[in-house]
Amino acid sequence: MRSLQQTIALRRRQDRVFHVLGALCTAAGVLVFGALLADLLWHGFARIDWAFVTSYPSRIAERAGILAALQGSLAVMVVTAAVAVPLGVAAGVYLEEYAPKNRLTAIIEINIANLAGVPSVIYGLMALGVLVYVFGLGPTVLTAGLTLAALILPVVIVATREALRAIPRSIREASHALGATQWETVRWHLLPYSLGGIATGVILGLSRAIGETAPLVTIGALAYVAFPLPGPIRAEPPFLSFAWLDARFTVLPIQMFNWVSRPDQAFHANAAATGVVLLGLTLGMNAVAILVRSRMRKRIQW
């Protein structure tokens, strides 16, 4: 039979042991991540110079660069944002401010939750079947942008809904009391006030899209692009050109995948350098999102 003192001492000891164990576990996780990132930076940074950013890929590792991948990533992101932002924000506004509580709404909501968990490679298969073959768009920048737009649509919708939910009821009631229609309330009050939250969600969604590899491999993106994308501006009116939408392309993560998969070690340094650029872009976008969120939180006090 243990005395009360012994029991208390035992339980204190249990607590201390777990406290240390939990802290060690967390620290171990952080350390492993830190070590992996340090390794990437170590191998990648040495390879990054101006020529690396401004050269097309080459069969000689030292001459290869990521210009084509940078152009491709930028072009695809433009399409993705142009499609996913209006569609996602509109869907979020409808579900939060208009949708009646009925079966259809419930189905749409379950559907969005499930879409968020569908593996990205499945989106690639969908795009391959529908966009590439049924619509005949081919493995182009446009197809890639639409694919990634479908992929981040749930992110944008959820972010929009959360931003709208943070606006107090009284704002809506005041607007309606002054005779505004529902659309006028949305247009002049709810959208402006939720802009920060929406922007945060959009940036997070795009940062996910820019790192996606599998769906773009599936639609048939190239791994080796040694020519520039057609520029968006031309000399004669209307001065804008959309030929780039129809061009074949590669993106940063596919370029990295290609270089990692080569047996020749010289290319692994290129892969690491591409990884550094990619990581810089995604983490940078996340940092911007966090900044936007905290600034908005300070500016708007309900």
Partner: protein, 308 residues
């Protein structure tokens, strides 16, 4: 506020009609946008069903599920999904054996032990790790973890499921711990105080009161973690090898369902060939598994929200 000049209901007129029209118009536009997400799902289901139907008609479900060899590209093709399923299961199991214990311990520590200020720093940092592109994790698995493992296990091949699974587990840890921590933090403080009043320490309280109370929320994070592991593509495509291999030995190379889809897509496949259809059949199996996980996860999460 130029557009919202209030007109008394008794005043009819063009301006009023225009505003009512605009309201209805935008309502319809927004409603259509909400349906776009349903269109995406419909597109996924339709493509997987239509493109894989000729495959299943040709191969037969029995052979698909029982044959032990997967070589759809060979001159004499065989279409048994088992090798791909085995690869998927082994890598998933390795990943979960890392992610679930570590994720749970970290979640309990963050929720019950960690100083609040440290938690405020660690939580966003954990979520930042979820933003790292998976191809970067693939690089880690192939070029950092595998060489390290080769020093421990002599004769380990360059491509192996162990390394891919371990890195996948590491990738899922932040996901599990973040969602589980949310669930445990949502448990009312009253329950904890009751346990303390009865003489429980933090560990007993966490294990016998908080963990069971948050179980459905924690379970949801586990199930969603499983779905991520099953659907993860780039880590296994880079580090586990692309050859289908019916084995449960984690030190061997083997392709997963996702890796197979990538491997076929890297080549040039004629539209409508049996090889082309085979990636949709594999995709249909993948979609079915992850859909089950997601539905279970959301059901658990809803039960948790109702209980709290």
């Amino acid at each position: 506020m130029s557009g919202s000049v209030a007109l008394p209901a008794s005043v009819p007129g063009a301006a009023r009609r225009r505003r009512v029209f605009a309201d209805r118009f935008w309502r319809a536009v927004l409603g259509l946008a909400a349906l776009s997400s349903v269109a995406v799902t419909a597109g996924i289901v339709a493509v997987l069903a239509l493109e894989s139907a000729p495959f299943f008609a040709h191969v037969g479900l029995g052979r698909f599920l029982t044959d032990t060899v997967w070589t759809p590209m060979f001159a004499e093709p065989r279409f048994g999904i088992l090798p791909l399923l085995a690869g998927t299961l082994v890598t998933t199991a390795i990943a979960l054996s890392v992610a679930l214990p570590a994720g749970t311990v970290i979640a309990i520590w963050l929720s019950e032990y960690a100083p609040p200020r440290l938690r405020e720093v660690l939580k966003p940092a954990l979520e930042l790790l979820g933003a790292v592109p998976t191809v970067v994790y693939g690089y880690f698995a192939l070029l950092v973890v595998t060489p390290a493992l080769q020093r421990l296990i002599p004769g380990l091949p360059t491509f192996n499921m162990l390394s891919a699974g371990l890195v996948m587990g590491l990738m899922i840890v932040p996901y599990v711990s973040s969602l589980s921590e949310d669930a445990m933090r949502a448990v009312p403080a009253l329950l904890r105080e009751g346990a303390y009043a009865l003489g429980g320490n933090k560990l007993l309280t966490a294990l016998t009161v908080v963990y069971p109370a948050a179980l459905s929320g924690i379970g949801a994070s586990y199930v969603l973690g499983i779905a991520r592991a099953v659907g993860e593509t780039m880590i296994v495509a880079v580090a586990a090898g692309l050859q289908p291999n019916l084995t449960v030995d984690p030190t061997e190379p083997a392709a997963t369902i996702t890796a197979f889809i990538v491997q076929v897509s890297l080549g040039d496949l004629p539209h409508g060939s049996i090889g082309y259809q085979s990636i949709f059949a594999a995709g249909a199996v993948l979609f079915a598994i992850t859909l089950l996980c997601n539905l279970a996860g959301h059901r658990l999460r809803r039960r948790f929200r109702e209980a709290c």
